[in-house]
Symmetry: C2
Subunit: 187 residues, 2 copies
């Protein structure tokens, strides 16, 4: 493959995932990734800050996407409707198409403390984006924080169940079930 093909980012991601699976995350170096992809390290660092970010690059735009959705929703939209609609959009556009990559990442996260920290930070950044979105809509700070944390809980718990699901259930359907479970648990 030529290094001039426009799919450098995807080739680097695939090479990295293959190497992480073959020899582990910690043991894999950026030069190994670029060699496998037939690209230069300079190209690698144009796309990713480090090898960890290869795994998180596709999530990077999600908080901004959520912020835009929240800013553009009609002022009359109720918080719960906003959450459900936002989770539906994120599930269908950002997670459903990436099940294999998300499964592979979860396996790697289990083996690496640095990736676990990165995962926790991703959660916090997402929660912060939603909290700010609610505050910008006039929701008081404590309620905004509560809605944001609960949104992230709904997506994370549902994601884990979806990745474990042996069938072809849709992530959005699982999110709705998780919401119903939470409602009934809070009685």
């Amino acid at each position: 493959m030529s290094r001039w093909r426009p799919d450098a980012r995807e080739r680097l991601q695939q090479a990295a995932l293959d190497l992480f699976a073959e020899q582990g995350f910690a043991a894999t170096t950026v030069p190994e990734i670029t060699a496998r992809a037939g690209l230069t390290t300079r190209t690698f660092f144009r796309h990713f800050a480090d090898k960890r970010e290869v795994l998180y690059a596709d999530d990077a735009e999600v908080p901004a996407m959520v912020a835009t959705m929240m800013a553009e929703a009609p002022p009359s939209a109720e918080p719960l409707a906003l959450i459900v609609e936002g989770l539906r959009t994120v599930a269908e556009t950002r997670f459903e198409p990436r099940k294999a990559a998300l499964l592979a990442r979860r396996e790697l996260v289990r083996t690496d403390a640095g990736l676990q920290e990165r995962d926790l930070r991703k959660r916090a950044v997402m929660s912060e984006a939603i909290r700010e979105g609610f505050q910008a809509r006039g929701v008081d700070p404590a309620r905004a924080a509560l809605l944001a944390e609960t949104s992230v809980t709904l997506i994370n718990v549902s994601l884990a169940e979806w990745l474990d699901a042996p069938d072809d259930r849709k992530l959005y359907d699982i999110i709705l079930e998780t919401l119903a479970t939470l409602r009934s648990a809070l009685g």
Copy 2:
């Protein structure tokens, strides 16, 4: 003060908090802390793994305390009752008596990325303890994860509001309000 007094741990914590407040967390070294406390670095490392842990030592036993409460609760106890009772105990025994220290820590966490990571890890460890507690009580894994994350959300959102509260409201009362807010938000 003599180095033989039995309150070495508290003296080290107070010296560390004073120095963190005076000159920042990052700029403070363990030898400075021990000099201020009139103790040796050897004594310091008998009590704390590093200067970061000075801030988290008093939280260290909370997950185990929660695990014990969950294991000892009557089998008939409903999850929500268990959560409310557990949060009440943790609030009254572990957080109410430490408001000043918790306020000081929150200020420091705002200034330091390493402390922010430690805070996120503390959250994850707490959630994991509650999840395991529910699973041990026969709750299915997805529901256990949902209840655990929601418990941690309730305590964290309430803690932040309690620390900001200008009045003398009790943390447990704020937790109950937060629970009521979540219930009504989920409609």
